[in-house]
């Protein structure tokens, strides 16, 4: 690589990172708005409609409000961990998005810029590692708050997220066997003929259930089950630290939707009348809609029953599916 092309590459990368970061933040903001509107529609309510036209500026009003709130650290809390926990959560949530490809390569002055922040050849493993770190944010928040409700929330999510990483990882194995690669970019490329969902439907179901549990979304939102645990691990958090947890939750939702799209629905591939990243965006939005729809419909399961379901049903099933996939391939 010449010096000139390196500079072009560097500038392009920095711009790409900034664009992705801002786009992710905006998506989170409007995802919260969309969730409130969609659920309101499903529940025969109106939803936010005061700030801006049809309430479109509501997310910015919320963020401003959270900024202006007093930032409390409860007495007896472990201050260092208390501050560190939301940072870990938000950091890992954003980090995970960096390996997701969302478009074809673009070429500027003979320099190939892939539309992906970094094309790791172990992308899937990297994601699993990041998800594992994500648990720390919640566990530490629950532990350091010096509150019993938070502790319960932290404990529950610790058990739940660690257990559900197993089927989440195993559900991807079939895909890896089909595409012969751990890089998400190659996985998308391998789906140019047909999407993996056609061959890996059972794996997709496992993936879907695990990803709902992994993001602590309804009906598996035990760590923050408000009727039981007040607000779970973030009971004691206020102001911007609370906003960080909130952002992290929605960022993980987006990342996992994007991952599902990449693994099972052909990523950014689609008919050519729309640019690839628009296809990617539409698919992610449909996945997110599914997440929101679930929340409006289902009651919450009980935490120990979910764990039992994971160890006795989901895990054996996903192992079996790997065997079947292997048998078919041979």
């Amino acid at each position: 690589m010449t010096k000139e092309s390196f500079i072009i590459w560097l500038i392009a990368k920095i711009i790409l990172i900034l664009v992705v970061f801002v786009a992710l933040l905006l998506t989170i903001a409007f995802l919260i708005y969309a969730e409130r509107k969609i659920i309101a529609f499903m529940q025969s309510r109106i939803g936010p409609n005061r700030v801006g036209p049809i309430g479109l500026l509501q997310p910015f009003a919320d963020i401003t409000k959270l900024f202006l709130k007093e930032d409390l650290i409860p007495a007896g809390a472990d201050k260092f961990l208390f501050v560190l926990a939301p940072c870990i959560s938000v950091f890992t949530a954003f980090m995970a998005f960096s390996v997701i490809p969302f478009g074809r390569d673009i070429v500027i002055h003979n320099v190939i810029i892939p539309l992906q922040i970094t094309n790791l050849n172990v992308g899937v493993l990297f994601l699993m590692a990041i998800f594992a770190i994500n648990v720390y944010g919640i566990v530490l928040a629950g532990w350091s708050s010096n509150s019993k409700y938070s502790l319960f929330g932290g404990m529950r999510s610790c058990a739940q997220m660690i257990s559900y990483e197993l089927p989440l990882g195993l559900s991807m194995v079939g895909i890896l066997m089909l595409s012969h690669s751990l890089s998400l970019r190659s996985i998308v490329a391998a789906q140019s003929k047909h999407w993996f969902i056609l061959m890996q439907m059972p794996a997709f179901i496992v993936f879907l259930i695990s990803s709902i549990a992994e993001t602590n979304r309804a009906p598996f939102d035990f760590p923050e089950a408000e009727p039981e645990l007040v607000a779970g691990y973030h009971t004691e958090y206020s102001s911007f630290k609370f906003a960080m947890f909130f952002m992290a939750e929605y960022a993980s939702m987006i990342t996992l939707s994007a991952l599902a799209v990449t693994l099972f629905f052909g990523g950014w591939l689609g008919p050519s009348f729309l640019p690839p990243f628009i296809w990617f965006f539409i698919k992610v939005c449909l996945m997110l809609f599914f997440f929101i729809w679930l929340r409006a419909t289902y009651p919450r399961l009980r935490y120990d029953k979910l764990m039992k379901f994971q160890w006795t049903v989901l895990l054996p099933f996903s192992l079996l599916w790997i065997l079947i996939t292997g048998a078919i391939l041979i």
Binding site: E228, P299, R300
Partner: protein, 394 residues
């Protein structure tokens, strides 16, 4: 030697009085082993308002507005129970139209109360949409109450000896509209819950209360009937004309949270049945007894007639006296047996009013139901007993 014994400790968790799902201000002291409840102690009194005592310093007619506010989700039952007790001491037999009107209002109120229960119960198990659907229908009922009494809750519409005003024009038609649409709405809630796997997983076999325990604790209402005891005061000791209506008393088998849910859902259907019979056969006639010592004359008469004006002045300033004696009258409120023990010393104010509230008795059985279950199920069990803290503390 190394001591290998692991030290085990239990944890005390204060649930409430400020907690999202303790139905007001109930405080539960939970002794926990991990997430399992070993012991639960309800602490009450955070909503104590001294209503029984306040009533002693108010005239009989004024006390209606006070008893109204005890169980704020079923005000008509409080009114009816109290008024029936006063009428019993006065030895009054009200016209049939009054009885039918009271039944219509009470059964509408029962549906409204059960809708709040269903909404909060589902919300506590995480199904939040159901809550908004039930409140949508409850709104229709509250509008009906507003139409006839001017108030949506705590309406103070009933009077000793009947009603001050008849149902307004068009009220019966709107009640008919409501009973036409409501059964389909119950089906709508049931589609979301009754056969839902997660809902059944969360409620079947949970918080079991045996029939024997239920009777020993004095539990009544749907909570008792879910345990398999067919005891409904409307059936056993009909009051206010319930003997004229045909309805069934739904009974559960296992006494768990799911059975309590099924029983209350069926009760709403039966209430609709009673209301439609009452509306069909509503007799014509006066809406109060003909006794100027107890019933206020109409405003128009009081402004021109000498006698009426004197009666008006007398009732408003001094009320009416009730003969010496005591009585106990119980009505079947949405929560169970709501009993009023009224003692009169012959004056114009109650000497003593003791209220036997269903929530208070049902709450006693709560620690029994909570023993050995998980903390997530605690809220489900509380919701299934359908307590109202205003009713417990009064």
């Amino acid at each position: 030697m190394v001591n290998t014994e692991i030290k085990k400790e239990t944890m005390i968790l204060n649930m409430g009085p400020q907690h999202p799902s303790t139905h007001g201000v109930l405080r539960l002291v939970l002794e926990l082993d991990g997430e399992t409840v070993i012991n639960a102690t309800p602490v009450i009194g955070y909503l104590h308002t001294g209503m029984e005592k306040t009533v002693e310093s108010e005239r009989y007619i004024q006390a209606i507005t006070i008893v109204d506010r005890m169980d704020y989700l079923s005000c008509f039952f409080n009114e009816l129970g109290y008024i029936l007790a006063v009428e019993d001491l006065l030895n009054i037999e009200v016209p049939e139209r009054v009885k039918f009107m009271r039944v219509i209002l009470c059964e509408l109120q029962r549906i409204a109360s059960h809708l709040v229960w269903l909404g909060t119960h589902a919300l506590e198990l995480g199904a939040m949409s159901v809550m908004l659907y039930t409140f949508r229908e409850r709104e229709l009922i509250l509008e009906l109450f507003e139409m006839c009494s001017g108030y949506r809750m705590n309406s103070s519409y009933m009077r000793v000896g009947g009603f001050y005003l008849d149902f307004p024009k068009g009220f019966i038609d709107r009640v008919k509209d409501f009973i036409d649409i409501f059964p389909s709405k119950i089906n709508e809630y049931e589609t979301l819950l009754t056969k839902n796997v997660i809902w059944k997983e969360r409620t079947v076999g949970l918080g079991i209360l045996s029939a024997e325990d239920a009777i020993n604790f004095g539990v009544s209402g749907p909570t008792l009937r879910a345990s398999g005891v067919k005891w409904d005061i409307r059936m056993a000791h009909p009051y206010s004309g319930y003997e004229f209506f045909e309805f069934e008393v739904p009974v559960g088998k296992h006494g768990d949270v799911y059975d309590r849910y099924l029983v209350r859902m069926e009760e709403m259907r039966q209430s609709i049945r009673i209301i439609s019979q009452a509306v069909e056969n509503l007799p014509e006639g006066s809406v109060s007894i003909n006794n100027p010592d107890i019933i206020l004359p109409s405003k128009k008469d009081a402004q021109i007639g000498m006698e009426e004006m004197i009666h008006h002045f007398k009732i408003v300033s001094d009320g009416f006296s009730v003969p010496q004696g005591s009585t106990y009258i119980a009505v079947e409120s949405p929560r169970g047996e709501l009993g009023f023990y009224l003692v009169s010393d012959g004056g114009n104010k109650p000497y003593r009013l003791k209220v036997r509230t269903p929530s208070f008795a049902n709450l006693q059985a709560l620690p029994l139901m909570l023993k050995g279950i998980m903390i997530s199920d605690v809220v489900a069990v509380i919701a299934s007993t359908d307590i109202v803290l205003g009713d417990v503390d009064r």
